[in-house]
């Protein structure tokens, strides 16, 4: 068995790779620009390069987990399989009605994306099942054959089947699949398997996305086969829910990979929180095009079932992050009233910021950092990524400074102040929504640009502490590396919780877990699972929204504990509970988790080892003052555990940069890995704030 474990996070701007030795816990990282052409080859090269650092060959790799955006990109770019949809008679337009929502209430010209399946490929069959799963109208086989024939003649490449109340009785969908198989040989996704949960639009949309992305995931899995051919024992794909998926599971449910990247970041944040004994924390992941923020509560990942990607509903559970269009590539511009605004338009990686010299012409957040000296000209990726400070400064001066009557430096500082304010709004929104005051929390910052912004974000929120991992720029990859294998299921089962029959509850959970077990067995996993998690979605009668609570035991006391947990969570999130009201259970959820060997502790990476305690260099840096200051620039690799630095200072490393203002202090934690920043409060020092005073 190989000793090396690796994770790859394919982001919009960079591909991050991380590798660890399960025996020595040594870790190595690599970051490459994401060039579309020859991506598989460059991935292989990256893996080879890292393997060499461990003095090993690819055959010694046990596992690679890949976080990929192929499914998301296919959806955003419309490169999908030609897909047919079969629905109950009278309901083929549900997919197009899409809850009647318009994307922008104040923009009359903005439209929803085209329906995922065009109307002529949405066909109806005669059948009807009611809410209890009783058949009101038996399935008319002739109508199914007619639909199958029509779809065959239309050369569809995949078919989704979504019949009303199929979650309560899947037999009609199963019969449809059988008939389809006789008429055409294409992948078929059933709503009763992809998402057996009520709400027909969301279920149909999720099932249609699953069908439409089967070819994309097949091609992707084919392309990474070369890793297996070279001797890698196992390859997994990161799932949206925070567990990784076997290749077979990813093929069955490509739609479960849709939030692969952000999920990795939040798991990485959770690992850090757990390591430092934090039950609740905020995570801040600032990347090239956007910022993801999440709230960790009670040492658990936050989930949501309400997500849209490219305007299409994806109702499978995914790690809950709030995304703001504020990243390194966010474009700064002057609005019609003359105010300086930043984002959500992003220059992305292509053409990218002006300073990358790849054709970008509009000033971005990264250009501001480069112009102000926060990011050194040779600091990125160990000097392997060249940036042009003069071009950045010129762009800001010409496009923002001059028209606004400001110096370039003030305009650049303004870009950062505005982007910080945008991020702060998102953090406030997620914490307040969950009934949390951010002031008591620690902010965990990562993503290539996370440590550049985290301190100012924390200052604005009055968050006193910022925790920065050893490799912030590849921390999502670290999260992916440490993820467990999971199989999850989710089923609508509508009953009165107060009058629940425990044996019925046990039976329905057995059915759900049994279905998961069949997938596990078919994927060839034999070891005993690490654990099986069970949960229910409860609500007070009369409500439509639910809260998810764990069921720790399938017994009368277990049912009572879940009810109590529901009252408490309702109290916390909504400020009140109604203990005498009837509680309804709407959905049940189960997850089978298999552990993987993960680095619970990391040693110093080898490749950048430099003598500890090396003297810092200095360069001119503009912090919050109009004039620059000569600022010490420390190399992260030369900091030793227990060392304390005081701002103003810059800490540079291969994958990120940290900017400390006057009054901020950073401490290298005892393990020598993570940095703890004590943030100077804004109110202590009016030097550090934008002041309007008389």
């Amino acid at each position: 068995m190989g000793r090396l474990h690796a994770a790859i996070d394919v982001g919009g701007t960079f591909i991050d790779v991380i590798m660890c030795d399960a025996e020595t816990h040594e870790l190595a990282v690599l970051k490459l620009p994401n060039e579309l052409a020859g991506r598989e080859q460059s991935l292989l090269k990256a893996i080879e390069q890292l393997t060499e650092q461990f003095g090993a060959n690819i055959g010694e790799i046990d596992t690679i987990v890949i976080g990929t955006t192929v499914v998301t990109n296919a959806l955003l770019q419309g490169t999908l399989a030609r897909t047919g949809l079969i629905t109950t008679q009278g309901f083929r337009d549900v997919l197009e009605i899409a809850r009647m929502e318009r994307p922008a209430p104040y923009d009359l010209q903005k439209r929803r994306p085209a329906p995922l399946v065009p109307r002529h490929l949405r066909l109806e069959v005669r059948e009807r099942v009611d809410a209890d799963g009783q058949v009101l109208c038996p399935l008319d086989v002739d109508s199914v054959v007619a639909a199958a024939t029509a779809l065959r003649d239309a050369d569809v490449q995949a078919v989704a089947v979504s019949l009303l109340f199929a979650f309560a009785n899947p037999t009609h969908e199963q019969t449809v699949r059988g008939i389809l198989a006789q008429e055409l040989a294409v992948p078929v996704s059933l709503s009763s398997e992809v998402l057996p949960v009520f709400r027909e639009y969301e279920r149909t949309s999720t099932t249609a996305i699953n069908a439409a992305t089967t070819l994309v995931i097949d091609r992707f899995i084919e392309s990474i086969k070369l890793l297996l051919d070279r001797g890698v024992r196992r390859v997994y794909i990161m799932g949206s829910e925070g567990g990784c998926l076997t290749l077979q599971e990813a093929r069955r449910y490509p739609v479960r990979c849709i939030m692969s990247g952000p999920a990795g970041g939040v798991i990485g944040g959770l690992r850090l929180a757990t390591r430092h004994g934090l039950r609740d924390a905020l995570t801040l992941d600032v990347g090239g095009t956007s910022t993801d923020v999440a709230l960790l509560q009670g040492g658990a990942l936050p989930y949501t079932d309400e997500r849209t990607v490219g305007g299409y509903a994806v109702a499978l559970p995914s790690v809950e992050v709030e995304t703001v269009g504020a990243g390194g590539g966010s474009v700064a511009y002057i609005d019609p009233t003359g105010l300086l605004r930043v984002g959500p338009l992003s220059a992305g990686a292509d053409p990218g910021p002006i300073c990358y010299l790849r054709g970008g012409t509009r000033p971005t957040v990264t250009d501001a950092h480069v112009a102000l000296g926060h990011i050194g000209a040779n600091a990125m990726l160990g000097g392997n990524f060249v940036i042009d400070r003069d071009a950045a400064t010129r762009g800001i001066e010409e496009q923002l400074g001059r028209p606004l009557g400001l110096t370039w430096a003030r305009a650049a500082q303004g870009i950062l102040e505005v982007v910080t304010a945008n991020i702060v709004r998102a953090v406030r929104a997620i914490s307040v929504e969950r009934g949390h005051d951010p002031r008591g929390l620690t902010l965990i910052a990562f993503g290539g640009a996370g440590p550049l912004h985290a301190l100012d974000v924390a200052r604005s929120l009055e968050v006193p502490r910022v925790l920065i991992p050893r490799y912030p720029g590849v921390w999502s990859a670290y999260g992916i590396l440490t993820s467990d294998i999971s199989y999850s299921g989710y089923l609508t089962w509508f009953r009165t919780w107060n009058e629940i029959d425990v044996s019925q509850l046990a039976a329905v959970f057995d059915r759900l877990v049994g279905g998961l077990g069949a997938r596990v067995a078919s994927d060839g996993l034999h070891a005993a699972p690490l654990r099986i998690d069970r949960a229910v979605d409860l609500r007070y009668r009369g409500q439509s929204h639910t809260l998810t609570v764990a069921v720790d035991e399938l017994s009368a006391p277990g049912v009572a504990r879940a009810a109590e947990a529901f009252h408490l969570e309702h109290e916390r999130r909504y400020g009140h509970s109604a203990r005498t009201d009837t509680i309804e259970v709407v959905n049940i959820r189960a997850t089978i988790v298999y552990g993987r060997p993960t680095p619970d502790h990391i040693a110093e990476a080898k490749q950048h080892a430099r003598p500890a305690g090396a003297a810092p260099q200095h360069r001119l840096v503009w912090l919050s003052d109009p004039e620059p200051a000569l600022c010490p620039v420390h190399q992260r690799d030369s900091l030793c555990s227990g060392q304390i630095l005081e701002g103003p200072a810059i800490v540079e490393q291969y994958d990120s940069t940290i900017v400390l203002s006057t009054g901020d202090t950073v401490e290298v934690m005892e393990d020598g890995l993570d940095l703890l920043v004590h943030v100077r409060p804004a109110r202590d020092n009016h030097q550090g704030t934008a002041t309007v005073s008389r």
């Binding site: 309901f91 549900v94 009359l108 300086l340 606004l404 929104a429 409500q543």
Partner: protein
């Protein structure tokens, strides 16, 4: 991050500081809304987020709003204005809040309660915070306080003129008990009003925090400057339009009665007058819109056609003057009923679109269908409890110069969601037998109007139904040569199969087995049908968006088919 010069005038003109102030206040509004949704009890507020929050200048002009319900945001400044008319700002104390729901005092319709209070930095009044929320029931003739056939506002629920609601953040118990006693769901009223007070208090706390960064005078000046900048930007946009006078007309129908809404827009240099002279006298039913709701519809129209990209605030509307004659459906005399005000606002909006079509055709849309309300209630056999349920159903969105109208969407001033069929059937004694698009309902044109919705309800238990759905007599009109959409049609099919077409504003007692088939109106088309691209024509046929046995699209208006009253859209 930076110390700016200590001169307020200088700092308040710094485009970065102004953006930061604007952003901070926007964050306060968003947080207010989150807190309101979190701690209210009404399902409308909690689950459909039928609520809005905003912050005002000391003079009562809207400074910053979080993007919620367009019509709320337009109404709130008027409600605040009436509060300030009743209570002098200089005598207001911190911790005081005021409540109003009466449309004749700046409200929308009675279920919408506005709670507002002053914001102080030290002793200095720096502005106001307000929230508006749709309470589930405020009494009146029918549950949910939206009766279809009311003739006076007294039948629509409890009127609350501007009164004090709290002192030192403590709710005034006498007021609370009075409001609660007039609601079918008193506990919700108590929780919702407490939540609305807490929302203002949260805003005060956030303003206190801003006070650590900004001097009160500097803050007031910065906000005032933000409004001035929006005003200037709006005036620049107006200046760029040619001077002139443009007229638009829309016809609102309440059952069989027709109510023309006429608007004349006079634009000169940097100012604009919106004049509704010639608009129909008020309706005897609930199909009226009080002034505040009318103003809100006009502001929505102005913002979407002229205000794109300009931070929305009171400054945007300073160049606007309005003339709305008394006794019309847009400014009815007390005590006219107004519970269907939102549907009137769809037509007000359309009249403005039609006027602007003459001068900025690329910015407008043709008429949209949908937005009517279908409510029913009775005894639920499953729970043996009484239930009341209502839903707004979208229709076809109007087409525009940029493309076809959206199929199945709520009209522009609203933005509500549908209720999933499966969610409905799990709870209520009802079966939905069809939920789809009405083929051929979109008005033809270079760009086609969106398709309306067909939703069929089979009743499984006796129920009392109420239809409040306009556009059955007067279909949404096309623009610039585009054809009209199909009108609303409601049919009731008895268990024996006998179908009757019924009035769109009425009460009806449904028996088990009855099938109600609701077809909402399609959107108007834009531009002459002959100019439609051949690829679009083909797609319409392939996808069955047009109704035609021969495979030819229905380019001609459907006059003479089922709706002889459908007129060809104007060719501007």
């Amino acid at each position: 991050m930076t110390t700016r010069d200590n001169n307020a005038a200088g700092a308040a003109s710094d485009p970065i500081v102004l953006e930061l102030v604007r952003n901070s206040l926007l964050s306060v509004c968003e947080e207010m809304a989150e807190a309101l949704v979190r701690s209210s009890h009404s399902p409308n507020i909690k689950e459909r987020r039928d609520c809005s929050c905003s912050i005002y200048t000391p003079r009562g002009e809207m400074a910053v709003q979080a993007e919620h319900i367009p019509i709320h945001l337009g109404v709130m400044p008027y409600a605040l204005g009436h509060i300030l008319g009743q209570f002098a700002p200089e005598r207001m104390e911190p911790g005081e809040t005021y409540v109003v729901n009466d449309p004749y005092y700046g409200g929308n319709h009675l279920p919408d309660f506005i709670v507002a209070g002053p914001l102080f930095l030290g002793d200095k009044l720096v502005g106001f915070a307000a929230s508006m929320a749709h309470h589930n029931d405020v009494g009146g003739a029918s549950p949910r306080s939206m009766p279809a056939t009311s003739t006076e506002i007294f039948q629509e629920g409890l009127r609350v003129p501007p009164i004090r609601l709290s002192r030192k953040w403590e709710i005034i118990d006498d007021v609370l008990r009075l409001i609660a006693a007039n609601s079918r769901t008193p506990h919700e009223r108590i929780a919702d009003l407490r939540a609305q007070i807490a929302t203002v208090r949260l805003a005060q706390r956030r303003i206190d925090e801003l006070g650590q960064r900004y001097h009160p005078d500097g803050l007031i000046e910065a906000v005032s400057r933000i409004l001035d900048l929006s005003e200037q930007a709006m005036r620049t946009r107006l200046q760029a339009l040619p001077d002139g006078e443009w007229q638009g007309e829309s016809v609102a129908d309440y059952g069989t009665a027709m109510f023309p809404i006429k608007v004349t827009i006079r634009k000169q240099l940097q100012g604009i007058i919106v004049d509704f002279t010639g608009t129909s006298p008020q309706c005897r039913g609930p199909f009226n819109s009080c002034l505040s709701n009318t103003y809100a519809s006009v502001f929505m129209a102005l913002r979407v056609v002229l205000g794109g990209g300009i931070p929305p605030n009171g400054g945007l509307y300073r160049p606007v003057r309005m003339i709305v004659p008394e006794g019309t459906i847009l400014n009815p005399n007390y005590p006219a009923a107004v519970s269907a005000a939102t549907q009137v606002s769809y037509h007000t909006f359309e009249a403005l679109m039609r006027a602007f079509a003459a001068v900025i055709p690329d910015a407008v849309i043709a008429d949209s269908g949908g937005g009517g309300v279908f409510s029913f209630g009775g005894l639920n056999p499953r729970t043996r409890e009484l239930y009341a349920y209502g839903e707004a159903i979208g229709g076809g969105f109007g087409a525009s110069a940029s493309g076809d109208g959206e199929n199945a969407a709520m009209p522009p001033v609203s933005n509500l969601h549908d209720t999933p069929v499966e969610a409905l059937e799990m709870i209520l004694p009802i079966r939905i037998e069809e939920y789809g698009l009405v083929e051929g309902s979109g008005g033809s044109g270079r760009f086609r109007g969106g398709l309306g919705i067909r939703r069929s309800f089979r009743f499984l238990a006796p129920a009392t139904c109420s239809f409040q759905v306009s556009m059955s007599r007067k279909a949404p009109m096309g623009l610039r040569g585009g054809c009209d959409g199909a009108p609303t049609r409601i049919r009731i099919v008895s268990p024996s199969g006998h179908a009757t077409t019924v009035n769109a504003f009425m009460h009806y007692d449904a028996q088990p087995g009855d099938l109600v088939i609701l077809e909402t109106a399609g959107g108007g088309g834009f531009g002459p049908p002959e100019a439609r691209g051949s690829d679009l024509v083909e797609s319409d046929i392939v996808n069955g968006y047009v109704r035609s046995a021969s495979g030819e699209p229905t380019h001609e208006p459907r006059a003479g088919s089922e709706a002889p009253y459908v007129r060809r859209g104007e060719r501007a």
